[in-house]
Amino acid sequence: MKMDAPAEAALRELSFAEAIREAMDIALAEDPRVVLMGEDIGVYGGAFQVTGDLVRKYGEERVIDTPISELGGAGVAVGAALTGLRPIFEFQFSDFATLAMEQIVNQAAKLRYMLGGAVSVPLVMRFPAGSGTGAAAQHSQSLEAWFAHVPGLKVVQPATPADAKGLLLAALDDPDPVMIFEHKLLYKTKGAVPEGRYTTPIGQAALCREGTDLTIVATSLMVPKALAAASLLAGEGIAAEVIDLRTIRPIDRDTVLASVRKTGRLLCVYEGVKTLGLGAEISAMVAESDAFDFLDAPIIRLGGAESPIPYNPALEKAAVPQQADIEAAARGLARGAV
């Protein structure tokens, strides 16, 4: 796992949620302009306990519980970012961002451009996303592709605690709006996280595992699944290279193309709905590049089912790619039986 932190920084095991909280803690301590905004992020600690006890340390003026007003809340964050604050806005579930697309897409993403470069909108938004919690169709979506379609936004999807921290700090340093999609099932996963301040560069994928037989480009929760699949496949003599995209706008074209040129086979794995989900862009980007000539097989996508996320647990699992699906697809691709 590529690590962008200073080599000398001590590592500890933290959960993904703790790593995000640590990043926010550092930012709040360092920079008086930083405020957190969201629903129930104060005394409740956030629906997924990401903000935790930060309100005790920084007070209600800096860890701001908003009313249940997603559009207005997002707009307040845009206005605050435009006038000197550095808001980190949490949607309680990414599904509720459907109420705030106006402010995110028409305002935050476009203000700088529409004003001819006179302003920047240094806004960070966090979106707990994805399925697997039994919360059904209105609490389980993976809508990151919508945001990655919007010029003016940057969009990241960390897969590890270390990247969750590093990308959040990078987002805060960034002058433009950065959207962070966090898979809810990752919050409790653990990993080594460097102490102190460091940033994970926005726009750089991570080459998580090298291989020569095929390239698996994965995002978010699909990264650990792809890595587990790759380990297993190694035992079968299939050497899969695994790339964690990390940033989905802008996409790290170079890393992906270099890998495909090497392996000649590409599998894209993402949880969002297959049609027009992230894999569509990865595939199309490769198919129109000079890496096309290196392709030995069709580009395979494993994405979410063409359905809302169902409540029943067995159906819910079936609706998104599982490790076994990745293994099967990779096997098919590597062995030419597509």
Partner: protein, 352 residues
């Protein structure tokens, strides 16, 4: 039954027949036992996901639905089990839904936050706070245009009153004088955020002034008071005089959902509200006015217990959906034939 004022006799006693009142008490118990059964099943790991229990709010749900007929409609919320039962749902099919079974109201696809019973006029719970408000207005628009005479009762919480959807929905209902009753169940908190911290006015009913509609505050733990307010509001709606806003002041005993640590409220506050339990209060009223005897009340409670136990057993024995049917019901199988045939959105024999 004539609605003649009698001193000290609660509205409900004057207005409803004894079997209706008995049925109301039965539903209140059924809700309480349903929620307890759901909680218990969750604790035992039989149900996944999350759930929002309405224990303590039974009078509000049942009282508000008393003035409604089967052809009237409701829209409900994430905290919707009570509304669903109040509107006449079958608790066995509700439990089956919780257990993710084909026998459930949503064939296991929706779960707790999406139970609907369209045949009984329940257009559904909603996972989106405020999501049901404009939908209710749409149902009222249908009723008005199609001349069905139906009233739509729109449940929502205090938290939802700060959503833009609230504002847009109430305004449209008002300017078009639609037959809808907005029923805000103010249980003092939207998740952890008190109305004092979230809402600029002291009483949500005051916001009715912004839509030139009547706004009333009632004791949400008093079934009779709720029923009376909704009778008045729905009579107004049926008469073509437009919408009303009724604020039902109540309290949820349990946490917001299963992960709540109740850090935002005190034990004393919870205890004080638990002392105002709406169920014994209504039972006592019925006994005091000679509608039921105490043993009859006990029998109704026991009946509810049995019904819930049977419902859980039914649900446990239900059929698991076939994963091959994952994408079934994303779209409607065959296009409706012609424009003049009955291809209404309601396919369950419901009134349109």
């Amino acid at each position: 039954m004539p609605d003649t004022a009698q001193d000290n006799t609660p509205f409900a006693i004057r207005h409803y027949r004894p079997d209706t009142l008995r049925g109301a008490l039965r539903k209140m118990y059924l809700i309480r036992k349903f929620e307890e059964g759901a909680e218990d099943s969750y604790m035992r790991g039989l149900i996944h996901g999350t759930m929002h229990l309405s224990i303590g709010q039974e009078a509000s749900a049942v009282g508000a639905c008393l003035p409604l007929g089967d052809h009237d409609m409701i829209t409900s919320t994430h905290r919707g089990h009570g509304h669903c039962i109040a509107k006449g749902a079958d608790v066995a099919r509700m439990f089956a839904e919780f257990f993710g079974k084909e026998e459930g109201y949503c064939r296991g696809r929706g779960g707790s936050m999406h139970i609907a019973d369209v045949a009984k006029g329940n257009l559904g719970a909603n996972g989106i706070v405020g999501g049901g408000l404009p939908i209710a207005v749409g149902a009222a628009l249908s009723a008005k245009r199609l001349g069905s005479g139906a009233v739509t009762l729109c449940f929502f919480g205090d938290g939802a009153n700060n959503e833009g959807a609230f504002h847009e929905a109430l305004n449209m209902a008002a300017i078009w004088a639609l037959p809808v009753v907005f029923l805000c169940e103010n249980n003092r908190y939207g998740m952890s955020t008190s109305t004092e911290r979230s809402t600029a006015v002291a009483a949500i009913a005051q916001r009715a002034a912004a839509y030139a509609m009547p706004g009333v505050e009632v004791d949400g733990n008093d079934l009779s008071a709720i029923a009376e307010a909704v009778e008045t509001a729905s009579a107004r709606a049926r008469a073509g005089a437009g919408p009303s806003l009724v604020e039902s002041r109540t309290y949820r005993w349990r946490g917001h959902s299963k992960s709540d640590r109740n850090r935002y409220r005190s034990k004393d506050e919870i205890a004080a509200w638990m002392a105002r339990d709406p169920i014994p209060r209504f039972a006592q009223t019925l006994v005091a006015h000679g509608v039921l005897t105490q043993p009859e009340v006990a029998a109704i409670e026991a009946e509810a217990d049995a019904e819930i136990a049977a419902a859980i057993a039914f649900a446990k024995a239900g059929t698991d959906p076939d994963p091959d049917h994952l994408t079934r019901d994303v779209y409607t199988p065959s296009p409706m034939a012609g424009p003049v045939q009955d291809g209404s959105g309601r396919q369950d024999g419901a009134p349109a």
